[in-house]
């Protein structure tokens, strides 16, 4: 497969954007780890819609590794939990995209957020060795809806703007 240098550069920019947004968000105080927007997932979603599953996974992995190094949590429990949740989220979004145009980018984002939240809860409960955390399930669902919806709207807007300035070929964008 021939990969155009232009696409490599753009994916690099998306990975950088993911890292910057991730680092920026970690500076904002949050009441609970579940209650962050997940701005770093915006470039992952944009990469998924504009470049496909593989590139999106690459952006997600780069964000995870560099973000982990930046926050000092590399290879720690939060890193493993976040990585597993991120992978599950990617897997679900790729599967949902296979369904064709059933969901828009907003629906896709909510699916990803939901998978992220649920797997995060499962892994955290597994890590601490008991199931008391599942009492947070309603909060996780609600958080997935809000953060997934917000990131989906932002992604939709971002793709719109990128298409407008000719950054992405219009035929590239297929949810």
């Amino acid at each position: 497969m021939f990969v155009r240098p232009r696409d490599v550069a753009r994916l690099g920019l998306m990975a950088s954007a993911a890292i910057v947004l991730f680092a920026f968000e970690s500076l904002v105080p949050k009441p609970l780890p579940w209650m962050k927007l997940g701005l770093g997932n915006l470039p992952v979603l944009v990469a998924l819609v504009s470049f496909g599953g593989g590139p999106a996974l690459a952006v997600s992995a780069i964000k995870l590794v560099v973000g982990g190094l930046l926050s000092g949590g590399f290879a720690g429990p939060a890193f493993v939990i976040g990585g597993g949740a991120g992978f599950a989220s990617w897997l679900v979004m790729v599967a949902v995209r296979r369904m064709g145009g059933l969901f828009s980018v907003v629906g896709l984002s909510i699916w990803g957020a939901l998978a992220h939240q649920l797997i995060q809860l499962v892994l955290a409960a597994g890590y601490i060795g008991h199931s008391g955390l599942f009492a947070l399930l309603p909060l996780a669902l609600f958080s997935a809806l809000v953060s997934g919806g917000a990131i989906g709207l932002l992604a939709w807007w971002t793709l719109e703007q990128l298409a407008k300035i000719g950054w992405l070929d219009q035929d590239h964008i297929n949810v």
Binding site: P31, L32, P33, P77, A78, G101, L102, F103, S104, V105, V106, G107, I110, W111, L114, A124, Y127, I128, G129, H130, G132, L133, A135, L136, L137, P138, L139, L141, F142, A144, L145, G149, G152, L153, W156, W157, E160, Q161
Partner: protein
């Protein structure tokens, strides 16, 4: 430029709307179910990795040290319920949870492997002081 103008709104599909509605209603349903079935808190259940959950009566005021993998978390039981007084972790999310009173209230400290839950009256054989 800004997406909130209606002519610029993203074309949400029917599946989008149904899915969002299902997720939202499940969350509300779970919360209502929790509230409906919730009794006034009677006991605090302390779950620590690899140990049997310990139960403490909420009428038994005092400060309770719990030793997890990271160090000591101090749990306070008082007239307002139970809360985490101090924690050895970095983010102190469990402390910010504040007082827990109702059955079903939860505070967790994942770094210290600790989950605190409020339950109604405890079964007698689970009582440990």
């Amino acid at each position: 430029m800004w997406p909130l103008k209606t002519e610029n709104a993203p074309a949400l599909t029917r599946a989008d709307k149904i899915f969002a509605l299902v997720v939202g209603l499940s969350a509300i349903g779970l919360i209502l179910y929790g509230r409906y079935t919730a009794e006034a808190g009677g006991v605090l259940i302390v779950e620590l990795a690899e140990t049997a959950p310990a139960t403490h009566d909420l009428s038994n005021y005092g400060v309770l040290p719990v030793v997890g993998p990271l160090g000591v978390s101090q749990i306070e039981i008082g007239p307002k319920g139970a809360r985490v007084l101090s924690a050895p972790c970095v983010h102190k999310i469990c402390m910010r949870r504040g007082w827990m009173q109702r059955a079903g209230d939860v505070a967790a400290c994942v770094p210290n492997g600790l989950v605190l839950r409020i339950a109604g009256a405890a079964p007698i054989d689970a009582m440990i002081r």
